[in-house]
């Protein structure tokens, strides 16, 4: 089923707000979770909204992407709350949340998942700079980002995660808001993606829409452009990091703050080994390293940390780019992770965030598999 979201006062954003208000007023749901512009501020943060008037501050589509909300939805759903919440997420946020469901760190039971064609993102620091310098209004932004497939916005690059994304379209939801390949002068389209979604859309009593004819073609074009950009990015980052020494140089500004881990939506451990006593070395240990190598930079264990994180979670990397966004040293950790994730995901034929019944590859095994790696014959 497809319904139409029309402009409200000539505005797509207001039209969307109207749609979310109607959702909230159906009483099918108790709360909305979506990006909201905070009072007297240009910051847009994901917020849990229960009052209809608050929806007037919602900005469902903007270049602000302060964090991967998949992680926040896990906080809202890891236990039952007795409330039903409709959550609006970007495609990579949905993928992350699906990974967390697999790890029992979230549940769909009390949620309505609403996906949206991705409106792309600037890094948080670029977003602040962009907002200070003649930004587009919310609607002009939507028009621009969904009509041109540009890599920049007012001279700022979209995040490299967005510019190399092969899949900026939502899957695995209850309903999706479609903009690509849709005639936006006529409004937007919401399609149901599950039975629950369909039932809710029916109660809204809104005008039905017809399949946007150009959509498949536009989707294919965008995917292809993403794939191509991704290939180039991977080639470049592989070249930059194809030895341990080069990897070390790539990471040489890393201060082991672990922000990249903290903001990674799929880095799931409650307590990370890098925060344990194992890495609280004895003073003499540093001296021994220095004596062995001639010199040792502190903090230590930087390459070790990143390689371990790659081993632990690259299979689940959803390519959201939040690791780079969080890095105070401006290291493009995302490119490193995506380039390795591509290999590890292919090795286990694993596609994170697509199917909640597909178990994470390191949580299962088969008796007969990978027999070619057993033994000491050279490959």
């Amino acid at each position: 089923m497809m319904i139409k979201i029309e402009h409200e006062d000539n505005s797509l954003t207001k039209g969307l707000q109207q749609f979310f208000k109607r959702l909230l007023e159906t009483r099918e749901i108790d709360a909305l979770f979506l990006p909201v512009r905070l009072k007297d501020s240009s910051s847009i943060m994901p917020s849990l909204v229960t009052e209809s008037v608050q929806v007037d501050n919602a900005v469902p589509l903007s270049p602000a992407f302060p964090l991967n909300s998949g992680r926040m939805v896990s906080r809202l759903s890891y236990k039952l709350s007795g409330r039903k919440t409709a959550v609006l997420l970007r495609p990579c946020e949905i993928r992350a949340f699906i990974e967390l469901i697999k790890l029992k760190q979230g549940s769909r039971q009390e949620l309505i998942l609403i996906g949206i064609d991705c409106p792309k993102a600037l890094s948080s620091s670029d977003y602040t700079a962009y907002m200070e310098k003649d930004p587009l209004d919310d609607d002009a932004y939507i028009q621009k980002v969904f009509s041109e497939n540009d890599k920049t916005l007012n001279g700022f690059n979209f995040s490299s995660a967005c510019n190399t994304c092969e899949n900026p379209f939502p899957v695995n939801t209850d309903m999706n808001i479609l903009l690509h390949g849709v005639d936006l002068s006529d409004g937007m389209i919401v399609e149901s993606a599950s039975e629950t979604g369909q039932n809710i859309l029916e109660t809204l009593n809104m005008q039905q829409a017809t399949e946007p004819v150009k959509r498949d073609e536009v989707v294919a074009q965008i995917k292809e452009a993403g794939l191509k950009a991704n290939e180039e990015m991977i080639k470049d980052i592989e070249e930059k990091t194809n030895s341990i020494t080069k990897l070390n140089s790539f990471l040489d500004r890393c201060i082991n703050c672990y922000n990249c881990r903290n903001m990674c939506p799929v880095c799931y451990c409650k307590e990370c080994v890098f925060n344990t006593d194992v890495f609280y070395h004895q003073p003499v240990q540093y001296h021994q390293w220095a004596e062995k190598k001639g010199a040792v930079k502190l903090p230590t264990d930087t390459v070790f940390y990143h390689l371990t994180r790659l081993a632990h979670i690259s299979h689940a990397c959803v390519g959201c780019g939040q690791c780079s966004n969080a890095c105070p040293s401006d290291i493009n950790v995302f490119e490193l992770f995506k380039s390795v994730a591509q290999n590890t995901q292919a090795a286990f034929e694993y596609s994170p965030g697509t199917d909640e019944n597909e178990p994470p590859p390191l949580s299962v095994f088969h008796e007969k598999e990978f027999e070619d790696i057993i033994g000491i014959e050279r490959e």
Binding site: I244, F304, I373
Partner: protein
């Protein structure tokens, strides 16, 4: 030129490969001293981290060796180990640590002779591949 003496770290399970090593010892079989055995209760407890650390500290080769399929004393630790080694074989070569520096074998408790043979072959192989890049790097 000085002869290259590799450092090879072998994580061996207590119940099978370690017992085989013991048997090799009591049977007075010799094998290269470059191989440093680290006894673990099961190959299933070898976190990828241990392997990464060994390489970063300059190991030229790493071996994980445990019970044959079906013989693991914790039922399936060796199957889990196999997935982890598969994973590492995807990640490490990307950073120039060649696939052939990392191996997984099954050596049963009574295979003392096989143990000594495999260690000798492994040592020869690593000598052939040459010193690991991490020996020279300042990376910790």
């Amino acid at each position: 030129m000085e002869k290259f003496e590799p450092v090879i770290i072998a994580f061996v399970c207590n119940w099978c490969t370690y017992t085989a090593a013991d048997l090799a010892g009591t049977s007075r079989l010799s094998y290269p001293t470059n191989i440093r055995l680290i006894r673990v209760m099961c190959t299933g407890m070898v976190d990828p981290q241990y392997v990464i650390k060994a390489f970063l500290e300059g190991a030229d080769g790493v071996l994980i060796s445990g019970c044959h399929p079906g013989d693991c004393h914790y039922i399936n630790g060796n199957y889990k180990a196999r997935r982890r080694i598969k994973l590492l074989k995807e990640i490490l070569p990307r950073f120039g640590i060649e696939k052939d520096r990392l191996h997984l074998t099954w050596i049963g408790a009574s295979d003392g002779i096989e143990f000594a043979e495999i260690m000798t072959q492994l040592n020869d192989q690593i000598i052939e591949i040459g010193p690991s890049q991490t020996r020279l790097s300042k990376v910790i």
